[in-house]
Symmetry: C2
Subunit: 216 residues, 2 copies
DNA sequence: GTCTATACTCTGATAGAC
DNA sequence: GTCTATCAGAGTATAGAC
């Protein structure tokens, strides 16, 4: 009896559907990837199931065999995203060196934007439109995490280990600056002309900026 | 033969329709205001003529009496916006004091975001979706203006009048930080809780940030 | 599981009376 | 100039054969 495969092991408490075959897993994945591409570029209303199905190489009814509705696809994408979205800030360590911790957080966030620009635009599209589908997440989990880390930063500032600073605005500035390169890629490309990585020079610039800002 | 009214005088080269009555002017204005409200919150595809007509207090066919199509309304909004969009950067004066000029630019931009958040979101929505209707504007006018002012800033840096800095990234950072408060208002509100001006503290924070960044 | 055909709704735009 | 009625097309979702 081979050990590796736990008997019909599905994470208990998970609302996802029960065990799926390999082909189902693969198709769901293709759909989510295609949906990410289309939703991030056109927003929820702007995206059509036709586009997503074409991008995924499936027929529209077949897509709807895997997900009940357009909404369901979109929610699945957001859910998958939010897991990773908090990670960079979570890693900010209260017992680390303040400047290193904040700089590292900024770089992790920038790296996320570079590696996952579509996810960033999906998120931006949602916020821009009033965040109707993210209200729960933002006002509970994200808010709590931000407040927690803001306290840490405020304590560092009070102790004189970094320059005095408003911690919420510091966090907002990191979000704004790092996500800008993903969300506004179209504009940056048009201004710098083609053949440039939109993130070119961003790491060095932001590193310099925050070192100056935080130096006690 | 009365002099004051030039025969069918329309600005030559203008594509706009001929002289309009007061009531027409007023209705066009109402429609544009309503459209700004709806487009900025839902994007082009997400907005419907029904919503815009309702917001403007008109019937849908009546709206289409004033504008040929949904596209036309949207283009009119963008055109009106782009005139004002370049103004803050245009005012950056090469013969002024470098730090004052850059700080003033940042504050003008922040003030624009605070006073016209819907315009900012309209613009953000466009860029986020690949800027199809702004390609001409960005790759010509905006690009030329940015390059011109970047040269000015670069010269200031070379002369040691401000700290050495990449001028394009400096400009991008000002855009990112000032527009963030308008574009991501929903998120900021949810994190800080209700009853707060989303721009609260932004002026002081950004002022401090750029003073530190630019000090030679 | 996947497809073709189709039902039904929403939405942009037009016709035509007033 | 403004409205009611309506068309035509797009888009989500379902039925049912294979």
């Amino acid at each position: 009896m081979p050990a590796p495969r736990p008997p019909s092991a599905e994470k208990p408490g998970t609302l996802a559907k029960p065990a799926r075959s390999r082909i189902q897993q693969r198709n769901r994945q293709r759909i989510l990837d295609a949906a990410l591409e289309v939703f991030s570029n056109h927003g929820f209303r702007g995206a059509t199931l036709d586009q997503i199905a074409a991008e995924a190489g499936l027929s529209k009814p077949n897509l709807l065999y895997y997900f009940d509705s357009k909404e369901t696809v979109h929610r699945a994408l957001l859910t998958r995203l939010l897991d990773d979205w908090l990670a960079p800030l979570r890693k900010l360590d209260p017992s680390g060196a303040p400047d290193v911790e904040i700089l590292s957080y900024m770089h992790r966030k920038l790296e996320m934007s570079r590696a996952y620009p579509r996810e960033s635009r999906l998120f931006a599209n949602e916020i821009l439109q009033g965040a109707p589908r993210l209200e729960g997440f933002i006002s509970t989990e994200l808010r709590a995490l931000v407040d927690e880390k803001a306290s840490v930063i405020a304590a560092w500032a009070r102790a004189g280990r970094i320059a005095p600073i408003d911690p919420h605005h510091l966090i907002f500035s990191i979000w704004a600056l790092t996500q800008h390169y993903a969300d506004f890629t179209a504009q940056i490309d048009m201004i710098r002309g083609p053949g440039h990585d939109p993130f070119e020079g961003a790491g060095a610039f932001l590193d310099h900026l925050y070192k100056r800002l935080l130096a006690p």
